[in-house]
Symmetry: C2
Subunit: 396 residues, 2 copies
């Protein structure tokens, strides 16, 4: 004990700007998740006139925008005590991973007491988990853990090296057996980090495998923006403002080069390189990619998952674009056969109609699929649930 008290005192007595980081936090505890699943938010802001918290743990409210009234995040006021500490305690919350921000005198900010943040496109948002039920899949539990690697591969068709994230299951390194592979694709504005951060893919896989609900498998999370070598800040473009849509992301180019990724994985990892042991799934734009990739290579994947898939309106299904030969290639995929074509969407998702229309097409051509409808819209809460439901159906 003595050593580090001495060390801490030495640090404090010569506080430099870098060392300030060591001591600036911890004035208040926030958010505090209580045993009864209520949550207290606190902010030390004695000079502020108003503090609010906004986040997906609150009911949505109608917000005025140039496009009319739409659903927006709820807000609630914090109350200041005599020490200048603002606080608010929620009612008991459902188990879930939540995001939130503070609004101090109209200025939206992160919670300085909570160092746990996740980037979603350009926004960086604090997170917390209310444990229990489904949310326990999102926590790091005391179970065997897979390895998560950040690795570069030669994207031959694009002409440069690109980064992907890859999860190998517990025991992969010690074993000599071959494993199946799930290719898991992000949405617009995302990148190879999205399924690991907001998607909790490594935790979901670790926990489902530990419960023997999922087969041990590799999960490959590539970058779906063909103009990027890696996530913003992680690639050779350095630090810049991330964009929701990057050029050439939904024009067929990504689908055309996808087998470079499959070849890389099957050359560099101990996997079962056959259709029975390949799955592909994605959210939103990644669902669009999964739909097109699986029909462009119609005898390659035995499992396909479309999570809130960004299926485009009919006018894009012309012969000229990525939708060329749409029905014919789907029919080829159907005739080749597969084990599972799984579609999930939230009832208030803005892509609900496009997905309904797509299912009508599948019905028309007699292409079998399974369909799951949840509440909620185009949100990570749903995509985590869809992944948790989809993975146990694979490779069994």
């Amino acid at each position: 004990m003595k050593n580090y008290i001495v060390f801490a005192l030495l640090c404090i007595t010569s506080l430099t700007q870098a060392q300030e980081a060591l001591f600036s936090g911890g004035k208040v505890s926030s958010p505090q998740v209580h045993a009864d699943k209520t949550v207290t938010f606190r902010l030390a802001a004695p000079q502020a006139d108003s503090v609010q918290v906004t986040g997906d743990f609150l009911p949505t409210i109608k917000v005025e925008t140039p496009m009319g009234k739409v659903d927006g995040p709820g807000k609630v006021n914090l109350i200041k005590n005599e020490d200048g500490i603002w606080s608010f305690t929620t009612k008991a919350l459902n188990p879930e991973l939540y995001t939130y921000a503070f609004i101090v005198d109209g200025f939206k900010t992160t919670d300085p007491a909570n160092p746990f943040l996740i980037r979603d496109v350009v926004s960086v948002t604090n997170i917390f988990i209310v444990p229990g039920e489904q949310a326990d899949l999102y926590r790091v539990q005391d179970v065997p853990h897979g390895t998560v690697a950040s690795r570069w591969y030669d994207a031959q068709d694009l002409g440069f090296d690109r980064k992907l994230s890859i999860y190998t299951p517990p025991g992969y390194e010690q074993s000599d057996k071959e494993y199946p592979v799930l290719y898991l694709l992000h949405g617009a504005g995302g990148d190879e980090e999205a399924w690991l951060s907001l998607g909790r893919a490594a935790q979901i896989l670790d926990n489902l495998i530990a419960e023997e609900k999922a087969a041990p498998m590799l999960v490959v999370m590539p970058n779906g923006n063909v103009g990027q070598d890696a996530a913003p800040g992680a690639g050779s473009d350095g630090y810049y403002t991330p964009q929701f849509m990057t050029p050439e992301t939904m024009n067929g180019k990504y689908e055309a080069q996808f087998m470079d990724i499959v070849d890389f994985v099957e050359t560099n990892y101990r996997v079962k390189a056959n259709k029975e042991n390949r799955a592909i799934a994605g959210l939103s734009m990644g669902g669009y990619h999964s739909m097109h990739i699986s029909r462009f290579y119609p005898d390659t994947f035995d499992y396909v998952g479309l999570f809130s898939a960004a299926i485009m309106p009919r006018e894009d299904k012309s012969d000229k674009g990525v939708y060329a030969d749409f029905e014919e290639t789907l029919k080829a995929q159907k005739d080749n056969g597969y084990k599972l074509y799984w579609i999930a969407i939230g009832e208030s998702d803005f892509l609900y109609e496009a997905n309904t229309e797509y299912r009508e097409l599948l019905d028309k051509i007699g292409m079998p699929y399974e369909y799951t409808e949840s509440d909620g819209g185009h949100i990570w809460r749903n995509w985590r649930v869809y992944l948790s439901e989809f993975v146990p159906l694979l490779f069994q």
Copy 2:
């Protein structure tokens, strides 16, 4: 192009709380690093009465604290324009990775336009890089990239699984040759993520290897807090407020179990498992760990690096604690021989005197070392430089 315009419009027309993340950023560009190495900070805060920026790109100022006047980070005022956008442009800055924060009406906050942040203990701080010279080592360049993996191992002496970060050099996976290993240890308040984030270890190694200034090597970055299984938020303790000092971190227990880590690496990776091909180095508490580990196992490491090492005051060098048999074990290490014992510290570091005293002891017992003194104190800027200088000296 048409597809994603349609998609973006669909998103906008049904803005939900999750989707708000997609569109809330990008009102202003901040920070903007100009070609002449000046940097403009901008913040949209029409309701604010004052906005300042503080960070390590500004000269330090004297700050009043309970311990007297100490060096603190400088601050400068931003000026508001008619649109409610505050801005400030620096003079030309030296190439470097800098950290900064805004202060809005007295409230310290991150920059909402900059999604690039790094956690340092409990504080989360925005970063930017002014390119050129030394700072180019910290950038992701268009060179071959190593793989960074986050992996769990069985810490047998501690009784639970623990996480470490490991860098394997470009070509490792395709090669059948064996590589040397650098064990790189973090400071108090850090964890297995620290050298990768603020330390830029992967970029420094990629760039030095590409320039043929460093031998291809593995870099193992374990967690030095024996009470933790992983970094805050990444382990089974879930989300909590990180502490500067965790219990049992500097009491000898970490040193005693260190060979578990070496054994794990040498069993699981294609490495040269001998003294000539092992190096150990660390910053602050990690320098303390490196000093003790290399003398506890006095015939194990041919290269030792102490970066601003937290060498404790004399009263701790009793026979009872981690300093037991201090001189005798150092003499054994000396007699066994090694290739490099490298000590670096900044002239204003609060550990300067303790390091001077330690070098006097080494002189007294005739233990050879190399010594580098830089300007500045106990800061990441120095540790990145020390790593960049130390790595080229290894395994040549």
